[in-house]
Amino acid sequence: MTAALRQDQSPVAEAAPAPLVTVENLTVSFKGGDGVIKAVNGVDFTLERGKVLTILGESGSGKSVTLKAMMRLHPPRKTSYTGRIAIGGREILSLSDRELGQVRGSVVSMIFQEPMLAFDPVYTIGQQIAETVVRHEGVSRQAADKRALELLEMVQIPSAARRLKAYPHEMSGGMRQRAMIALALSCRPDLLLADEPTTALDATVQMQVLILLRQLQREMGMAVIFVTHDMGVAAEIADEVAVMYAGRFIETGPVGDVIGRRLHPYTEGLLASTVHGAQRGQRLETIAGAPPNLAKLPSGCAFAPRCRYVEPRCRETEVPLFHPKPDHAARCLRIDR
């Protein structure tokens, strides 16, 4: 394990096969009633098969937008993408609608934040899983029903056969999210996108779902991009962490480095504002101010207006990514010194 890990990180990695996911200079913007909203402003990353990348950020940081862009899920008429997304050799941004339909749900699939809203309320859980299996694997309805039952058993839903015939409103929140996971994994995707899948759940159920996800991810060897605003969740599941702010990755690196040896003042603020790092009886720190308006971003570093270390040069030019270590990087001029 250690040897494999070291080989991953060594400079000889060029010889290894191409990563599953390559994203280069991705931007996503929406045409709205009041101008263009630039939600994602140049995101680059790669993700190997079987690895978990967690995108961490506040609401409005562009993390969910980035995630949904991975399968071009934004309304086509209002959204424009630039840059490049490649998943398993497929150029997502230039696929036709038909090709996209074949990729969605089979190569890449998604778990949503609120399973109650993500299931069609007038179809049973079984129908909704079987429908996906029929769509992508071209099997008979009976075979798909059988597969749906296996999937529900795989995500440890009790009395699975009965739950197959249940409607979403007849299940509990945790059970619905398990069913959502079963649906997402139904066609053995290479890449799973998880959009705050535990946020809507009770704390105890949250942990169970996380553990289940982690276990299934290891068994099936798939890559996961996991979006959350919760440091604790990120620490639990991630291999790599990317901290997102105003549509950019402002710090990326292995989970231990980002949490233990954080470089960016924003990451520092996020950590200080979670219960995990704080002491009993102490007030939690907050990051002063609010995230910037994505319709008119400030020049220079987008975090400058809220940063306690801000210097005049922060507002002058766009801050590049600095690499103090090969795999740990951040967009902050203080690293340059």
Partner: protein
């Protein structure tokens, strides 16, 4: 499901009773009694009195109601004060004609309304949506008796293409499914369909737009379903709302076509009601309204049952 059906039918019994009491009372609230309307002004008082006894109008109201209800249950709605003929037979033949007209208007109007509404909701904010919405607003706003007269002027008087009145050649009331009869149906059915087109269209449009904004539609696309399959899901989701509105509209079509039937002299219940009102023919009035009201009650049961069948969130227990 069967027990739900039985229970739902039992619920409608008190509703039907209440409705019949209302209808009975409503007519008696009007000043004067029906006999003074049919008897000549100079009729001797003892003749008027005998007529009153013959028709049972001398008894106290609760007894009159009881007798009327008792007979109504067995299908006897009394005799028309104006013609002396049994009310039930006249109402039933008129009901047949009204159902014919209403169903044609409903099939045409509901189909057009649902299709326009679906397209408008799906293409929200685009040209198709604006055109369909304009049609709907026009349909709801235009007075339909006026539209009926305009259609008559254009297609019957000017173009001489379609008949203006009646339901068959030479004023015959015997229906047949041939062109000679069916051409009589076209103008009244179109006129009658105008309001349902608008209402069904608007309901469908807003229901479709609302469903399309829900997250599960994005989730369906994320599963890789084709647009055709996604639309199938959308239709299943809007069906309960749209069907409920269609059921109510069908009720209005059956009961509310007085103006249209009068404009086109269509021998249906609306036409019958209009005549009965002018003749102060109270048994006829009561009988017709009762049948129409029971239709409404019955349609509500049907709509409820269909909704329960399409939407699992409505409990059958």
């Amino acid at each position: 499901m069967i027990s739900y059906l039985i229970r739902r039918l039992l619920y409608s019994v008190p509703i039907a009773l209440g409705v019949s009491l209302m209808i009975f009372m409503l007519v008696h609230l009007a000043p004067g009694d029906p006999i003074s309307a049919i008897a000549p002004a100079d009729a001797p008082p003892d003749v008027v009195e005998r007529l009153r006894v013959d028709y049972g109008y001398d008894k106290p109201l609760p007894i009159q109601f009881g007798l009327w209800l008792g007979r109504a249950v067995t299908g006897d709605l009394g005799n028309s004060v104006a013609s002396g003929q049994p009310v039930a037979a006249e109402v039933m033949s008129a009901v047949g004609n009204t159902i014919l007209l209403s169903l044609c208007a409903a099939v045409f109007g509901f189909t057009l309304g649902a299709v326009l509404g679906f397209v408008a909701g799906y293409k929200q904010g685009r040209a198709m949506d604006k055109i369909a919405t304009a049609i709907a607003v026009a349909g709801i706003s235009v007075p339909h008796y006026w539209l009926g007269m305009v259609l008559v002027i254009v297609f019957s008087v000017q173009l001489n293409a379609l008949p203006a009145v009646g339901m068959g050649p030479g004023g015959s009331n015997d229906w047949a499914w041939d062109w000679l009869h069916m051409r009589h149906l076209i103008l009244p059915a179109i006129t009658l369909a105008v309001i349902p087109i608008g209402i069904v269209m608007r309901t469908t449009r807003s229901a479709v737009a609302e469903i399309l904004n829900q997250e599960f539609v994005q989730a369906l696309r994320a599963k890789g379903l084709s647009e055709r399959h996604v639309l199938g899901h959308v239709i299943r989701n809007v069906a309960p709302t749209v069907l409920a509105v269609m059921g109510l509209q069908l009720g209005y079509l059956l009961g509310g076509s007085i103006l249209i039937e009068t404009v086109f002299s269509w021998p249906g219940t609306g036409f019958l009601l209009n005549t009965a009102i002018f003749r102060r023919d109270i048994p006829m009035l009561q009988g017709t309204i009762l049948v129409l009201a029971l239709f409404f009650v019955f349609l509500n049961v049907v709509v409820d049952l269909i909704q329960t069948a399409v939407d699992p969130r409505i409990k059958r227990a």
